[in-house]
């Protein structure tokens, strides 16, 4: 079958690989109908995530039809149309029972590696380095889905792929980020980063009762999409973010702030180069520019929610601001499975049509071109969906 494989920094190759087999009794094999490139895939593409191996199959946002099930799969049948959650979760451990699916204790066969880096291991993730299990990913024609009963949601035929595909990651990720903000009526919420997750965070913040959302980015098309979602926007290359936010909120600051940017942040000015150089010589792994701004701008007693991906160590973390302003920081990989039903219902009820985020459609065999386009943010690229 055809699969998009990682071969090195900015080197993706579509290759012919063997089809997946059932390896565990709770596995299912899914024939992919739609698969997407996630913003977090770019961190792998740009070589910021360690423990990638040449030939690893990429992709953790995918959906399709179940074509085979293991003997212990109980609630899914061949022919079911399903969306797959990006974290792999057993449904049986302490964390899964608490619906903290991305913290599953049993799904990462390489837990020992993550323990060395983080103290404990998160769940396994499709196509996201050997640190999270080295599972073959979803940018392929077929994928093996472990714990299929837990990790998939069945969808009706009335909805298009593009309407439901993002239940796999970015919609729940943006939603969870907004939920973590504990939004109260009348709140102003600021969102750093208007990529796909940022877009869903903006819309989710409104769904959860925010009065005003301020979105921060530098790409006109992304800011435009944010405005379409009802947000006020700040182009951080044209205006000072902190000053503008204070202006908008009468000096109090946004009630909650979301960092939907993560470890490859940009900003004008020398501080960017400070982080870029430190990152290049490996004296810090992540550039927390958006996070620092969010902490400084957030109102006292407010919440900073971090859906953006961080992988290692950051520098110049304004902990004094966090402490003295009594901020709450909430973060985490998304507990995707927890949001399957509630968000599917919002789609069915017509509260949101996630297809709005799609700007490019291509074939799986064009994946390397897609990665380059998305990475360069050329041609107004915000979200790419690929079909086999």
């Amino acid at each position: 079958m055809r699969a998009n494989c990682w071969y090195g920094k900015q080197d993706m190759r579509v290759m012919d690989v063997p089809e997946p087999k059932l390896l565990n009794k709770q596995d299912a094999i899914v024939k992919v109908t739609s698969t997407a490139i996630c913003g977090s895939d770019l961190h792998l593409y740009n070589g910021f995530v360690p423990t990638m191996e040449q030939g690893d199959i990429m992709g953790h946002e995918f959906m399709g039809e179940i074509v085979e099930t293991g003997s212990e799969v109980k609630d899914r049948r061949v022919g079911d149309r399903v969306v797959v959650a990006f974290p792999i979760s057993c449904g049986q451990c302490f964390f899964c029972k608490k619906e903290l699916y991305s913290l599953c204790e049993n799904s990462n066969p390489n837990a020992w590696m993550a323990e060395k880096l983080f103290g404990h291991s998160p769940a396994g993730i499709y196509g996201y380095s050997h640190l999270t299990g080295g599972f073959a990913g979803g940018q392929a024609e077929y994928v093996r889905v472990p714990f299929a009963d837990v990790g998939t949601v069945k969808v009706e035929n009335g909805l298009s792929d593009e309407q439901v595909l993002f239940l796999s990651d970015i919609f729940p990720t943006g939603y969870m980020a907004a939920e973590q903000c504990n939004i109260q009526p009348g709140d102003t919420v600021a969102v750093w980063g208007c990529g796909p997750v940022g877009q869903f965070a903006i819309r989710s913040a409104f769904m959860l009762g925010a009065e005003r959302v301020v979105a921060i980015d530098r790409f006109p098309e992304r800011l435009r999409m944010a405005r379409d979602g009802g947000a006020d926007t700040i182009d951080y290359e044209k205006t000072d973010v902190y000053d503008t936010l204070m202006q908008l909120t009468g000096g109090r600051g946004p009630d909650s702030c979301m960092d939907a940017v993560g470890l490859e942040a940009h900003m004008p000015g020398p501080l960017y180069y400070y982080d870029r150089v430190k990152q290049a010589v490996m004296s810090e792994s992540d550039r927390p520019i958006a996070l620092r701004q969010a902490i400084m701008a957030c109102r006292t007693g407010g919440t900073v929610s971090v859906p953006g991906v961080y992988g290692g160590l950051i520098d110049k973390m304004p902990m004094g601001a966090v402490m003295n302003k009594a901020l709450t920081i909430k973060t985490g990989q998304t507990h995707t499975q927890r949001y399957f039903q509630p968000l599917l219902k919002r789609i069915v009820d017509g509260q949101i049509d996630p297809a709005f985020v799609v700007t490019h459609r291509m074939k799986l065999k064009e994946a390397p071109e897609g990665f380059a386009l998305f990475n360069q943010k050329e041609d107004g690229c915000i979200k790419i969906v690929m079909t086999p």
Partner: protein, 335 residues
């Protein structure tokens, strides 16, 4: 306040009971003696200690008598300043080691220093004013010291503790199941190879004795006979290898109710005499066997079986390369 006060004695009582239970388990499992000797240094720490004092001596000589050191090593006298600097580096590393004998970082800094020394000695070979014979001897000594440094640093990094020639391993993992099914699964010794990746098979000779076949380093196999020394249903299983076995080994697994009804804490303690002594133990990890890691991963697989019914694997999945699984990263395959 009142409710807390009335709660207090009961909590204390429970704690004492638990402590008693622990005390009993270590006392009666004779073959897993509690080291109970935190003050006593492990072999690894003692090795680090010697390296530290050796470094202090060498460093002082380099700083105070660089001419003599230059003559001894066989390099030109004009490198005095360089030798003094090397001495300072040596003193800094050594002070770090003696400050905390369990810290691998300080010993690794010695390894880095060794590399630097070797590079400089190599450079000295190209100089016409060097004494080649003395240089060769000095290079051999540094290389020898480096082997000791690497072995010590690696063992400390891996948290390996050897006392009296026995390597001691302990690991614990919380499993969201009651004590009874966990004990039952473990007590059926033939189940152990399901999650103990280095154990190939276990044959029961009778109810208390068993024959073990395990993978050794570099493709070898090790076999031994083991005997249960204690068996307390739902609480503790302890075993040791019988006299004259190829492997001198003892272990125990304790099943302890976790607080708050959150399942069971499964705690494994093992000790074994490495087949080739300390050197064998130090070299074995180079061939992919890190005993601490192995036991932790074994426990993790036991948890997977008990909580989800099987060990989750990626072996056999597709990839755009020859082998489907990464040898570098997949721990199960590395063994």
């Amino acid at each position: 306040m009142t409710s807390e006060q009335s709660e207090q004695p009961r909590r204390d009582q429970r704690r004492t009971q638990q402590q008693e239970k622990r005390g009993m388990s270590t006392q009666s499992a004779q073959h897993v003696p509690e080291t109970n000797a935190r003050g006593r240094l492990t072999q690894e720490q003692r090795l680090a200690n010697s390296l530290g004092w050796f470094g202090i001596g060498l460093g002082l000589a380099e700083v105070l008598a660089p001419r003599r050191v230059a003559a001894m090593v066989g390099v030109s006298q004009e490198h005095r300043t360089l030798i003094r600097m090397m001495g300072l580096r040596e003193l800094a590393s050594s002070a770090g080691i003696l400050n905390d004998r369990s810290s691998a970082g300080a010993v690794w800094s010695r390894v880095a220093g060794d590399v630097l020394d070797l590079v400089l000695l190599g450079a000295a070979f190209t100089s016409g004013r060097s004494n080649r014979t003395r240089l060769a001897a000095a290079t051999a000594s540094v290389a020898g010291a480096m082997v000791m440094d690497v072995i010590t640093a690696q063992q400390l990094s891996r948290g390996i503790e050897t006392r009296g020639g026995m390597i001691r391993i302990s690991a614990a993992l919380i499993i969201d199941r009651a004590q009874e099914p966990l004990y039952r699964h473990w007590r059926e010794l033939s189940n152990l190879p399901q999650f103990m990746k280095h154990v190939m098979r276990i044959e029961m000779s009778d109810d208390r004795r068993s024959h073990w076949v395990a993978k050794g380093p570099v493709g070898s196999t090790i076999e031994w006979d083991a005997e249960l020394t204690e068996d307390r249903p739902n609480e503790l299983i302890a075993w040791h290898s019988v006299d004259g076995s190829e492997l001198d080994h003892a272990g125990s697994v304790r099943f302890e109710q976790a607080p708050g009804g959150r399942g069971t804490i499964v705690a494994v303690e093992m000790q074994y005499r490495p087949p080739l002594g300390t050197v064998g133990a130090a070299v074995a990890p180079w061939f992919g066997e890190d005993p601490n890691q192995t036991v932790k991963m074994d426990l993790r697989r036991f948890k997977q079986i008990m909580e989800t019914g099987e060990v989750i694997t990626t072996q056999g999945q597709p990839a755009g390369r020859e082998e489907s699984t990464s040898w570098k990263y997949d721990h199960a395959v590395r063994q």
